[in-house]
Symmetry: C2
Subunit: 314 residues, 2 copies
DNA sequence: GACAAGCGAGTACAACGTATCCGGGAGGAA
DNA sequence: TTCCTCCCGGATACGTTGTACTCGCTTGTC
């Protein structure tokens, strides 16, 4: 229709970028393929390809090998936006982690993940071997977010504490991790192995026998993961009952304990609850505090052990 | 056949009690119902009912409302009787636990349990609210098998160790327990509460602040349960791969670690493996040993804590 | 006899993980 | 330009899970 002096490929590129600008095509949508463009505009394939090249160089579209060309996201922070971004292993993992964080690990079904990716359930299997693989990869991805800015010269206790806290933090942010963890078979998760390695490095300086070094690193893991497992329980129970831990303790647990001779059957519980009842807010199970306490006890114990070993050794 | 002066109901009662005495009917068996008796002896329903009344008043049989009349236990210890026993909550739980022990918790499906009971799946729901209830009840039943012969006069450390070991033993025998455990919400499992109460009792003597007493009891639980969670992983992995933990470590893990620059990426792992390689049998993760080590560390720490508290307090 | 009540069984459904097959677009070869 | 070969994503389907509903059947009691 319009006759202009600009070359055909530029005209086509302009037309396509108009469609994008006017939102006929929005971020994530597939842009016509080379062949479609050629047919639609009645030009040669080479011309069509050149037009798409222009768009690509302008950053308006992104060509993903073997998958077609799609409209690029309008701005970097598209948020949960691009519902139709290309399916990649990373995206699958990210969506799965998002579901797990929000609704717990048992809400992570292949179908749910697929739905969040805007994709058929079976499409996931192109990027993930199966559910087990998915969960493992999720764990690895999450452990991979762990950042350790560690002063390698600091005393061992400080370094171990830092590593333990970092691990603890990851578990706090992803409560479902507690349910996944292995241990006896140190999962070949690269990210986790790396943290473990740093931990072993710090333990080297304690002055324990090699076997004890390894034992200690397992115990520290166990402490973290064991306590962190409560996060999941916690969340699960909150969403089940709609009560926070404290509310639950106050409203359900304490009355139940007070009722019908329970106190009589569990005298020491009763005694302690007597104490807590006298406190302003009762006892609230502060996992944070428990973690620090347990960590302190373990490290104290290790230090003493090393000390004893040294005394006997010399 | 026999003509006697005694009334029909007495004759019937005598015949039935003979059957019981001669073990044609033994404890727990169903005694003929009113209707069956009426048909068998050719008497009226009322007569049959009266005969059964006699047996009931003699304590030979027990009538359970809406469930039939059964022979009373000869003596208190009737023990786990026949495979075709009547469906009771206890039997359901026992079979479920048997499955879990043998094949892991994930093998415990309602259908599997029902099959083992020789019963339709839905029949279980008469005795169990649902799967969750089943699992909770299984845990409770298993914790209930825990025996504590505890010298209440022994020093606290000894008592705590004994309780911890008892709990550990239960988890060792029922590896699936590790996957169930709550904690923040102390499950209202009576059996578990009882153990917890004993533990708190022992902790009272340590000399800690009340809150610390409770914290300590949670930490001890966490240590036990956290480590014990590996039992399940262990079993699961063994049945998956057909390798024991040691074999797995030797055959899979170590070679994997040796391969392709892994050692370079995890230098401290590498270093330790160098040590273990030199040992006769390498490193084998002995959970038993880890448990004792961790328990010792925690108790040492608590003792020190109490000591410090006392020093500051006075 | 009639009665209500509880038990066990049967049927059915939704949701799950996943094996299998298929259409179609993209890129390379002819 | 025309095919050929990939491989992605989709559709369909199977077997298994937990469980809601709904039946008879049998019980002890009027």
């Amino acid at each position: 229709m319009s006759e202009s002096t600009e070359p055909p490929y530029a005209r086509i590129a302009a037309e396509l970028s108009r469609r994008i600008a006017e939102r006929e095509l929005t971020a994530g949508d597939k842009v016509p393929s080379t062949r479609q463009v050629a047919r639609e505009f009645g030009v040669a394939l080479a011309t069509a390809a050149k037009a798409l090249d222009v768009l690509r160089s302008e950053g308006l579209v992104i060509t993903r090998p073997r998958s077609g060309t799609v409209v690029a996201p309008r701005r970097p922070g598209g948020a949960a936006g691009g519902p139709a971004a290309e399916l990649t292993r990373e995206r699958v993992l990210a969506e799965a982690v998002a579901i797990a964080d929000a609704e717990g690990l048992e809400a992570v079904s292949m179908r749910a993940v697929a739905a969040r990716c805007g994709v058929a359930p079976m499409s996931l299997y192109r990027h993930v071997e199966g559910k087990d693989d998915l969960v493992m990869a999720m764990s690895d991805a999450v452990y991979g977010t762990l950042v350790l800015d560690l002063d390698e010269a600091a005393p061992w206790r400080e370094r171990i504490t830092a590593i333990a806290r970092a691990l603890w933090r990851v578990h706090r942010e992803h409560p479902w991790l507690g349910r996944v963890h292995p241990l006896t078979r140190p999962l070949p998760l690269p990210s986790l192995l790396e943290v473990g390695d740093r931990l072993l490095g710090a333990l080297e300086d304690v002055g324990l026998a090699p076997k004890l070094q390894f034992d200690a690193h397992v115990l520290l893991y166990s402490h973290i993961v064991g306590l962190a497992a409560n996060f999941e329980r916690e969340d699960e129970a909150i969403s089940d009952t709609g009560l926070s831990a404290e509310e639950w303790t106050d409203l359900q647990y304490v009355p139940a304990m007070n009722g019908s001779g329970v106190m009589a059957r569990y005298p020491h519980f009763a005694k302690l609850f007597g104490h807590f009842g006298a406190l302003p807010e009762g006892y609230d199970m502060d996992l944070e505090e428990l973690f620090e306490l347990g960590l302190g006890l373990l490290l104290d114990g290790l230090a003493a052990l090393a000390e004893r070993g040294r005394a006997r050794g010399c």
